[in-house]
Symmetry: C3
Subunit: 438 residues, 3 copies
């Protein structure tokens, strides 16, 4: 079965705008690695795709880790001695140190400052900070707010709960022709931060939504999980089936205006790595390829040595390399529908390559077949340049020796994968190529 180019008939501009609308809808929710923020977000995703939601109890051992207590928060503020609210969680959920324990007390300026986090380099921005595994409380404030604080008695109030509960994640599976899976994973644990990673979530949602309407060779698994602990939990609970994952991508930071960055899998030359590089080379976007490093997003876990899955991470500007990263400036102005659409289109191109990558065997391997009599070659000879379709035919015939995939042929010829695929379809129908069984 030949899979059509997955981008056919898709209005990329429209998808980009839909992604932006989705981001706007989930932006206000306060998410963390557990709690109701994640549940609300998954419920909104369910409006787009039929998600399976798992709830894993606090205390569950997952490899070296234990599922933590569930954290929820209703309200948080700092008031001065005149009862004026000077910091309010309702204004921006970044104000709270994620996983802050409940507190309600009067504190001096000095004690308060021990619990405030700021970003002196960008004095108007609120930083995003967490304390998942060490009980603490705190507020994140702009450095301007911080420096304006005067000697006073402050009232701090955090109405949060940190109790036995669940770690929640969402999963969506599309069954394809084969049991072999492609994994697309994103982290859903960040509060109001658009690029990292509502852009990644939006991409995975709309990718799933698009793919489920199409015939597919591979099965697809889409994961919406809290970063680190979510990936570890999922890998632990699904260990027996992990070997079905033949290719994978972690989706993050996909809405900014930067060029694309592909971080290779730990294997470094896996088919996913080559497919992404091929798609990037044949796109009109600028891009950078970087080697695997054991820090970043959940590729850290997928590529841990005990799994070593062929999973890369495809971003625009990587984490930590734009000033807005993990600050209140990573907001709805920072991401744009146009960039989201481009990212979506690139992911579809990559999946099209994986879906259509295969090997053929030239049925007429000794000398070239006579293409002219089959209508595949110009009638008038002697001209300076052969057309790219003819070149593609010659490359496909020459390299279809049972050792080269269409991706190999595209890479070696420098011709686009889609063109190679198109001509091999024709050569297959003409009996000049025969598909190699895997």
């Amino acid at each position: 079965m030949s899979i059509a180019n997955l981008r056919l008939g898709i209005d990329i501009g429209e998808v980009g705008r839909d992604m932006y609308r989705f981001i706007s809808e989930v932006f206000p929710i306060c998410r963390s690695i557990t709690g109701n923020g994640i549940r609300k977000t998954l419920n909104i995703i369910k409006n787009h795709i039929p998600l399976t939601v798992s709830e894993i109890p606090t205390g569950t051992q997952v490899f070296d880790w234990i599922v933590p207590k569930e954290w929820n928060i209703k309200e948080a503020y700092i008031k001065n001695s005149k009862h004026e609210t000077i910091i309010d969680f309702r204004e921006n959920n970044l104000h709270i140190l994620s996983y802050s324990v409940p507190v309600k007390k009067k504190v001096s300026l000095r004690e308060l400052k021990d619990h405030l986090f700021t970003l002196p380099e960008y004095p108007e921005w609120i930083p995003y900070r967490t304390s998942y595994y060490k009980e603490n409380w705190g507020f994140c404030v702009s450095h301007n707010q911080f420096t304006n604080l005067m000697e006073d008695d402050y009232e701090v109030m955090i109405d949060s709960s940190l109790e036995d509960g669940y770690l929640t994640y969402g999963e969506y599976f599309i069954e394809g022709e084969k049991a072999d899976e492609i994994l697309i994973s994103c982290h859903i644990c960040h509060p109001s931060l658009c690029n990292d990673n509502l852009s990644g979530i939006a991409l995975v949602v709309f990718l799933a939504k698009c793919l489920r309407r199409q015939p597919l060779k591979y099965s697809y698994r889409f994961l919406f999980i809290p970063g680190t602990i979510g990936a570890i939990t999922w890998l632990c609970l699904n260990e027996p089936n992990v070997s079905k994952i033949k290719h994978g991508l972690v989706a993050a930071c996909l809405g900014d205006s930067g060029e694309f960055t592909y971080k290779k899998s730990r294997q470094g030359n896996a088919e996913i790595d080559r497919a992404v590089m091929n798609a990037l080379r044949n796109s009109e976007n600028n891009y950078k390829i970087v080697d695997f490093t054991p820090f970043g997003y959940d590729e850290r876990q997928y590529c841990s040595p005990g799994f070593n899955l062929p999973v890369g991470c495809l971003m625009r500007t990587p984490h930590g390399q734009y000033p807005q990263y993990h600050t209140s400036a990573d907001n709805l102005n920072f991401v744009q529908s146009e960039h989201l659409g481009e990212s979506f289109s690139l992911y579809l191109s990559i999946l099209s390559i994986l879906e259509n990558n295969r090997k053929y065997l030239n049925q007429n391997p000794k000398c070239e077949p006579q293409l002219g009599k089959r209508g595949l070659y110009q009638a008038i000879g002697g001209q300076k340049h052969e057309k790219s379709r003819e070149l593609a035919i010659l490359w496909a015939l020459n390299l279809s020796d049972g050792g080269n995939t269409l991706l190999d042929i595209s890479d070696r010829s420098g011709l686009k994968f889609d063109l190679i695929k198109d001509v091999t379809d024709i050569l297959d129908k003409q009996g000049l190529l025969k598909l190699c069984e895997k």
Copy 2:
């Protein structure tokens, strides 16, 4: 047996002038992929080397192809209504679309234009066009001639024949010490075009003429064949012996002033590829190395996946990369004896490498032997620079571990192949190296 440097005692300037004279002699003949033009050309070649000529009947199946009808032409012209001849095949045989069927009729300007081929970018030049496998008739004219044509009734006359006959090719075999063969192939199907490919034909003729006077390790097979169909025919008829071909070169475009271009074999790192690159590196010419592509000359067939022979293509400026390519401007002014001679010299250098490439085993592999007592090393020590002959000796001894050929030693040391060969001859005589049997 050690083969002498094949260039020894050759006056390259003289050979270049002989090649030019040969080109001048065969230039006027109208050649195509079949017919008397080829026969006449092969007869002239027979004045230089004892050629075997094969005649393969029309209709013979050769792999996916069928040997076409034989085409011959006596006369062709276009006359205007005043009976003035405005286009005459006798003036330039490029005027005829090769394989034009016979025609004699009056046509309107409009109908005539459907059968005219021009080159608007170079309005004074006549293009070269063919229609081997689709019956058609036509004239190739300069764009100036084309634009000067007025409304009129024109008489077109083509006195050609397209009938059952033969495909003709020439072959010359020199038996060397070994049955292993080196193939040198050129296409002989082009009419009055000097660089593509009378230059290639001249090179093969004079190479064969030079080699037959010398003792040789390899056997040599020189092919003078029509492009594509000739190579396919030869490969089909000689399939059982093709495996004897250990190295090969396709010779084309060797008389222009451009730098050398070597197109590697499909294998990419065959001994022929390395020998050509070594010879180029140690020549004083500029050059370019390009990877194999499945278009170009008959390396397309030799490197089809069912054969995958180690055959590259050594040109000066490649096909399609000079404006004169396949036009009336590829004439006797475009090629020069000096460039032909250089090309000839380079081919000899390459064959010298292949003839002399071998492995030795150091007979004194533990520490260096004492070269001084054998007169191979300077008596006064302490000087700044050793001489290149001494360096070559040290390299040859150090790398002659049974794993490295002389070509490997030349490549790794950066010293010329001839120097490495010379010192290994001496070291062999001194008993310090021993030839490895293949």
Copy 3:
């Protein structure tokens, strides 16, 4: 056993000054490939390390060579007809062509000139020349001295002896935990030349002196041998044990101000090659890496094809690439204690890498272990940059799959070897890594 960083607690500046003092002490001695100069030098070395001195009789067959006669010299001069001494060996022992046979006669200017060696490019410097294997006599003089010579009758006197005797070399062995050896070799045959090679001798002496005070994994063999014939002699007499040598360095030209140059072993990618490159990359020095060539110092013999030992040569400016090379300008002003100290420090860094290079197996290979609960990870998350110690931990865990050594991890991560070693020690103690047995 984990070996401490060998540089710990070493005052590099002080060692550099000690090395310079040592060079000053041995500088005046007239050394050659045999004779009392070597014995005196080895006796001075014995003040620092307990050397074993071997005396190999003249005439001993060592592979293709024969141990030559022993050469000694007491006095040498040239006098003019006024009995004025114009050249005196006592002023500079470079004045004598090394291995000059005894002579005492009157000669004309013309005959004298046949026995004079000069350096026209540097008219004030005396060159260093030898004639070990061809009996001859001669004087090396500055070109100014040479051009000032007038027609006269000269008296030449060389009170030397060339007689059956011994070839002398020194060896020092430190037994480590393992029988596997690291070889450090220097040539001791040069007269008053500081950089080539009193600097190398000083380096080996002080390296040995430093290492003998420390616990070591490897055994170490330090060789003080005459160049070429000494290495050949040692290899011949020690052939059965040569296979114990797992890594080696030839030390030469280590006191000048030039950048470091590492000449790789013939193997090219041996552990010693990678260790040196790693140490250089992580040092603050400029450096150059060059491929093996079969000329230079005694790596020529160690890397002859019959041994092919993993021995490289680590220099500052290589032989022949500084004008002072093999001239009287390679004197006590040309080398400096600062550069000697830097070279010493670099050698220690390299040996630290070899001593500590090992493989671990991640005991928790599926997903990352929870580093925070072990105090190995920051408590506050969301910050832009992880610290280099945390990165090193993540790299060490990710790559400790049984296939990567610490050197591999350092190279791939770009982090310093010492940092990788430090964190793996910690991870080992925490039970997260387990040492792989070799």
